[in-house]
Amino acid sequence: MTATVLICEDEPIVALDLEMLVEGFGFQVMGPYASLRAAEAALAERTPDAAILDVRLTDGEVFPLADKLQAQKVGLVFHSGHAYEAEVSKSYPGCRSCQKPVATDRLKQALLSVTRDAVSDPC
């Protein structure tokens, strides 16, 4: 079964890029969502295996969503221009961070590592 990756990104080009990349890695993409509201609405219907989260979305920071995902044991990859790595990894143990602009390999590694915990074999 193909793992599902939730993408939250408010920048359309970046979102498209991510979508393409993640699909390219062989995951099923959920989103991308530019706002928390949209993402939360989607989450009500389905729980992804992993999530790539831009910190700042159109309607605020992503952390409330991240908390929910954490509670549901969804593997988190933070994708941000901010250097929040230290703080974030403290609040969300096991999460990964990828600095913008993202490198393809690094994103792939991050996704694989977080999904490995959640799903036995993503590929």
Partner: protein, 1159 residues
């Protein structure tokens, strides 16, 4: 008379055994005229280290303050003090006698004494030396320096008697040699030295005794050899000292060893054997004694009452009162007693024969006694009523009057060796027994008992007693030591000592014996009388003039005594005819040549008959002549024939001549007596003159001392004056001294700038001198005020041009007595200081302005004090009501989160070398969040250091900083985002384009579109909002040439996110139109329009109208259309395309978000 205090030297000796190691030696220095120089020379050599202390006794003018201490102090390293009484003498000090006082020492403490004698008779040196001798024994030394008179000679004797050291300045180095010469004449001086060698001699002498062990060892060797030494003395001098007190002997022998600087007693024994002179010296040394006229006057008074008065009162007219003074030394005691008797006789108006026998074993002393010349100073000891009667002044000295001298017979006689005198009425033996050992004393008292008549008095010294002979004597007055001989058979003491007198000593002595006479008593026993009267030839004792002194035997055959004639009988006058001439010739001859002479074959004719005889005249030692009549044949009774011969004309002629001579002599005698009376009067006038002279001399001495002192003082004053005038000439300080009348007394050269004084202005009133001062009258009145009140006045004065300013201090000028006598004006130029002050003020103002404008508060604190002082600005910044805050006060105003940091900074930085620089927020001020910065730096002053600092409000800076940080973070975010977009774009493009040039072109286009959109946001003025038109025009900007483009629409603002999306969207549209539409290959026009509906939805229409109908203008759906879709979705809107052959219309519908620059 010998000294009465035997206890002290012995005590001193015992003491010395215990503490000689540290024993202090006191050197008494006696000086008078010319003494200052000698003392100075002497003390220059003195070291403060040695164990010597010095006491200077100088004759001083009682009415004049002495500068001696001050003058001496500069020439010696010793500490010099003028005595004020009660000082304990310490080594290394010099004590100076104060004027008008005497000085004495007791237990090492100096005391002032009042003079009892009038000026001229005072003997401060003698008095001090005597007390010093009693107090310090052999640790007293005396030095006699320059001076006139004889003060010190008696004191020297006391020092010597107690074992001390006597040194005299050599007379040739002394300015006035009176005192040294007189001292030397006593024969008791140990050293005669120049002043600068005196200390050396003292040190040499005491080198032995100052160290315990050496001293003891020396004493022991002396003890061992004392009998040998006595034997040597006895063999040379003939006097045996072995019965004397051993302690005295040892001490005096030891002294000689010290003076000679010998190692021990055996060396001395060798020395004394080799040098007979030394024998003499030791002999004299052993006999040293202190004597004075009327020593212990109260005892003499007792003696007068108990003995002299009754003796004179009870004497019958022709009685002779016989007095014996053994151990008379230099005669003072004998003369004292003689004067007492003479005075008593005078008072009682009696005529009594007084015969005083004064004996001693020392011929030298006896010679002094016979001369009866004593230093003027000793006159004070003689009671005033006797002074004029019995003394005659002789050039600084005095002599005992002839009538007193005539009462006394001085002779060499040893009480222990020679037979004693007998039938004595009074025996005075003072201070002799104390020198005798027990054995000798035991021998002597029975001798005295023998000599004295029953009931006669014995007068002893204060510390002598009769011991166990209370059966012989009974005290009459115990304290005055007057005793009465008890009844009892006199026992002639046969065991006289010294009987073994060697022949050797006999042969040495005649030279001296010639001068002395031993009066031999004939009436020792009846046997002698019997022999003389019955068996001896008739004998006469006559004086050299032929006066009959004594007679024995039957003389009637030879002499013709005339009864009833009391006056002296001359032998020649009473001789029988026939021997008269021979007798007078014989006496004359013997008197002249002093040889025994015989006159043979004479015949004495008397009325009874004639007698053949030889006449022998034999001179005796006492100057009298013994005339012995030795019969040659039997007496021939007178026959008638002989009567004729009786009237021998030659005999009667001689007789008449002699009678005439006698009457002439008588007349001569009367004349002589008259002459003597006149002479006596002259003498008394002379005496008066002498005593006046004496006073003048002592005044002169005192004056010369004062003169010496003043001379030295004047020298010092002229140096001080030179210093002062140099100071006046060289100082840059303007100074004027005025006297009480405002006359100029003195001024410095620097005063010229204020008062143009010339040298001649001294003495002119200050009021007359022109001054450059603007308000000179104020200065003058201030001077007057100072002279009235005596208080210092300060004022500020300036010259007329007001170019220069001075601070003027007017101080009262006080005389040494403390009286106000003028004023001193000292000017200190302030011009520079005032300029500086003004400059400083300006500087301060500038600084204040800067501080005020910058809202800087200033503070300072003492690192130790812990209090920070803020100025007003500072305390208002801190919102404090007061200016001084402690550290805790300050910290209380710091927000709690900053407090520890500030505390730490204050603690470390204030005490460290650097400064403080700390920023903090104010506590309890949540709304404003004011921040303050406190900066301080340590400033090191001359003695203290303090911390100076400023405090200021940095709230704005802090806020600006926070904003800046926020902006930076945002910028960073955006840049990263942009990178993300670009990298996304690259990746997307990579998937949708086939060739690299296409990829590059598509990316390049879009990146530049993004850049343009970015430019748009940046180039727009901050306040102005961007509109849709801006975005449209920016997108169309590259295509404006040649094509008909119409842009219409209302003003609708867009936010930056919308702008980016809009820009990208418009870019895609424009690119598409350029590739396939009216902006490119197809001719036509472009209309871009927008409108906003009532619900806010904006419709943007892109309409291309073709000039010719187009069959198909649709490009392939690729990256561009994806971007358009994405952009539209980003705007939350939708895009619809409506294409015909004539035109192509694309519509974007979206609802604009809230406008604003920031998200």
């Amino acid at each position: 008379m010998r000294d009465d205090n035997q206890g002290s030297p012995r005590a001193a000796e015992e003491e010395s055994e215990a503490e000689a190691q540290e024993r202090l030696c006191i050197v008494g220095i006696g000086a008078s005229a010319g003494g200052l120089e000698a003392i100075r020379e002497m003390l220059t050599q003195a070291s403060a280290e040695s164990n010597l202390a010095y006491v200077v006794v100088q004759h001083l003018d009682p009415n004049h303050e002495s500068l001696l201490a001050e003058l001496l102090g500069r020439h010696t390293e010793l500490e010099v003090t003028q005595v004020s009484g009660g000082e304990t003498i310490e080594a290394g000090h010099v004590y100076i006698i104060p004027p008008a006082h005497g000085l004495s020492v007791k237990n090492g403490v100096l005391h002032l004494t009042e003079f009892s004698q009038p000026r001229g008779l005072r003997r401060p040196i003698d008095d001090f030396f005597e007390s010093l001798a009693l107090d310090q024994g052999r640790f007293a030394a005396c030095v006699i320096l320059s001076g006139t008179g004889a003060d010190g000679s008696a004191g020297l004797r006391a020092i010597k008697e107690h074992g001390g050291l006597c040194i005299v300045q050599s007379p040739d180095t002394a300015k006035y040699d009176g005192m040294p010469t007189s001292a030397q004449a006593t024969g008791l001086v140990d050293f005669v030295r120049a002043p600068d060698q005196i200390i050396e001699a003292v040190l040499q002498f005491y080198a032995h005794s100052l160290v315990d062990k050496i001293d003891e060892r020396l004493a022991r060797t002396v003890e061992q050899s004392i009998s040998d030494i006595c034997a040597v003395v006895r063999s040379y001098v003939g006097h045996d000292f072995s019965g004397y007190k051993q302690s005295t002997l040892v001490r005096r022998v030891q002294r000689r060893i010290q003076v000679l600087d010998l190692g021990d007693a055996s060396e001395y024994l060798e020395h004394i054997r080799a040098e007979p002179e030394e024998c003499e010296i030791l002999f004299r040394e052993l006999l040293i004694n202190v004597t004075r006229f009327f020593r212990d006057p109260e005892h003499f008074e007792v003696l007068r009452k108990r003995s002299v008065h009754p003796l004179v009162r009870d004497a019958r007219d022709d009685d002779e009162i016989r007095i014996w003074v053994p151990g008379c030394s230099s005669g003072e005691e004998a003369y004292s007693i003689a004067m007492m008797f003479a005075h008593e006789v005078r008072l009682q108006r009696r005529s009594v024969n007084i015969q005083i026998f004064a004996t001693d074993i020392d011929e030298q002393m006896l010679r002094l006694a016979r001369d009866a010349v004593y230093p003027q100073a000793a006159l004070g000891d003689i009671p005033e009523e006797m002074r004029d009667l019995y003394t005659i002044a002789r050039d600084g000295k005095f002599q005992v009057a002839g009538k007193i001298r005539d009462m006394i017979r001085f002779s060499v006689h040893s009480i222990v060796r020679d037979p004693p005198f007998s039938a004595i009425d009074l025996l005075s033996c003072r201070n002799l027994l104390i020198y005798f050992g027990d054995q000798l004393q035991t021998a002597v008292l029975p001798i005295f008992h023998y000599s004295l008549k029953p009931g006669a008095k014995l007068f002893l010294g204060p510390s002598e007693s009769i011991g166990r002979y209370d059966h012989m004597f009974q005290p009459v007055d115990q304290s005055a030591r007057v005793f009465q001989r008890l009844e009892g058979s006199p026992k002639y003491p046969l065991q006289l000592r010294g009987q073994t007198r060697s022949e050797g000593s006999q042969t040495r002595r005649p030279a001296r014996d010639r001068e002395a006479s031993t009066r031999l008593e004939w009436n020792d026993s009846g046997a002698v009388d019997r022999i003389l009267s019955q068996f001896a030839p008739a004998t006469l004792q006559v004086s050299r003039k032929g006066e009959i002194l004594k007679s024995t035997g039957r003389l009637g055959k030879y002499l013709d005594f005339t009864p009833g004639r009391d006056d002296s009988q001359f032998a020649a006058n009473v001789a029988r005819p026939g021997i008269r001439d021979a007798l007078s010739a014989l006496i004359r001859q013997v008197a002249q040549n002093n040889k025994r002479t015989l006159s043979r074959d004479l015949t004495a004719q008397s009325e009874f008959g004639r007698q053949e005889l030889d006449l022998i005249a034999d001179p005796l030692n006492d100057g009298t002549i013994l005339v012995i009549f030795r019969d040659r044949d039997r007496f021939e009774p007178l026959s008638d024939d002989d009567e004729v011969d009786d009237l021998d004309p030659s005999d009667s002629h001689v007789q008449s001549l002699e009678d005439e001579l006698r009457s002439t002599r008588h007349r001569l005698h009367t004349t002589v007596e008259e002459l003597e009376t006149a002479n006596e009067e002259l003498k008394s006038s002379n005496e008066e003159m002498m005593s006046m002279n004496e006073e003048l001399q002592s005044t002169n001495e005192e004056l010369s001392t004062v003169n010496d002192e003043l001379k030295t003082k004047v020298d010092e004053l002229s140096i001080a004056n030179a210093d002062l005038s140099n100071f006046f000439a060289s100082t840059a300080l303007p100074l004027v001294v005025v006297d009480a009348d405002l006359n100029i007394r003195n001024f410095t050269d620097a005063i010229q700038s204020i008062y143009p004084f010339r040298g001649a202005d001294r003495g002119r009133p200050l009021t007359e001198v022109t001054s450059t001062l603007r308000r000179n009258d104020e200065v003058l009145s201030a001077i007057r005020a100072v002279m009235q009140t005596g208080e210092v006045s300060h004022m500020r004065v300036s010259d007329r041009a007001q170019d220069r300013t001075w601070s003027l201090v007017i101080t009262p000028y006080r005389t040494p007595d403390g009286d106000l006598d003028g004023a001193t004006l000292v000017f200190t130029e302030l011009t520079e200081a005032i300029l500086l002050e003004e400059a400083l003020k300006h500087e301060g103002e500038r600084l204040r302005l800067a501080l005020d404008v910058a809202q800087l508060g200033v503070w300072e604190c003492n690192p130790e004090g812990g209090v920070l002082k803020f100025d007003d600005t500072g305390s208002s910044i801190l919102a404090a009501d007061f200016n001084e805050l402690t550290h805790e006060d300050l910290l209380a105003r710091v927000a709690s989160e900053d407090r520890e940091r500030v505390r730490e900074a204050m603690k470390t930085d204030l005490h460290g070398a650097g400064g403080v620089d700390v920023t903090f927020q104010i506590a309890g001020d949540l709304t404003e969040n004011r921040s303050l910065q406190l900066v301080g730096r340590r400033v090191d002053g001359h003695r203290t250091s303090r911390v100076l600092g400023v405090i200021f409000d940095v709230t704005e800076e802090q806020q600006a900083k926070r904003v800046r940080e926020l902006m930076l973070r945002e910028m960073n975010h955006r840049v990263k985002n942009m990178f993300s977009i670009i990298s996304g774009m690259v990746r997307i493009a990579g998937r949708t384009t086939e060739t690299v040039p296409d990829l590059v072109a598509s990316i390049e286009d879009r990146v530049s579109a993004l850049a343009r959109s970015h430019d748009l946001t940046q180039s727009s003025p901050g306040a102005e909002q961007l509109t849709i038109e801006d975005a449209v025009r920016a997108s169309l900007d590259p295509y404006t040439d040649g094509t008909n483009i119409e842009v219409t629409g209302p003003r609708i603002t867009v936010n930056s996110q919308e702008l980016t999306a809009l820009s990208l969207l418009m870019h895609e549209w424009a690119t598409n139109a350029a590739k396939y539409g009216v902006l490119g290959p197809v001719a036509g026009s472009l209309q871009v329009g927008w409108e906003q509906a009532a619900d806010g939805e904006v419709t943007l229409t892109w309409n291309e109208s073709y000039a010719e109908a187009l069959s198909s203008q649709e490009g392939p759906a690729g990256f561009g259309s994806t971007l358009v879709k994405l952009s539209a979705s980003q705007l939350g809107g939708s895009v619809a395309v409506d294409a015909t052959a004539e035109n192509r219309t694309t519509r974007l519908k979206y609802i604009p978000g809230p406008s604003g620059v920031t998200e």
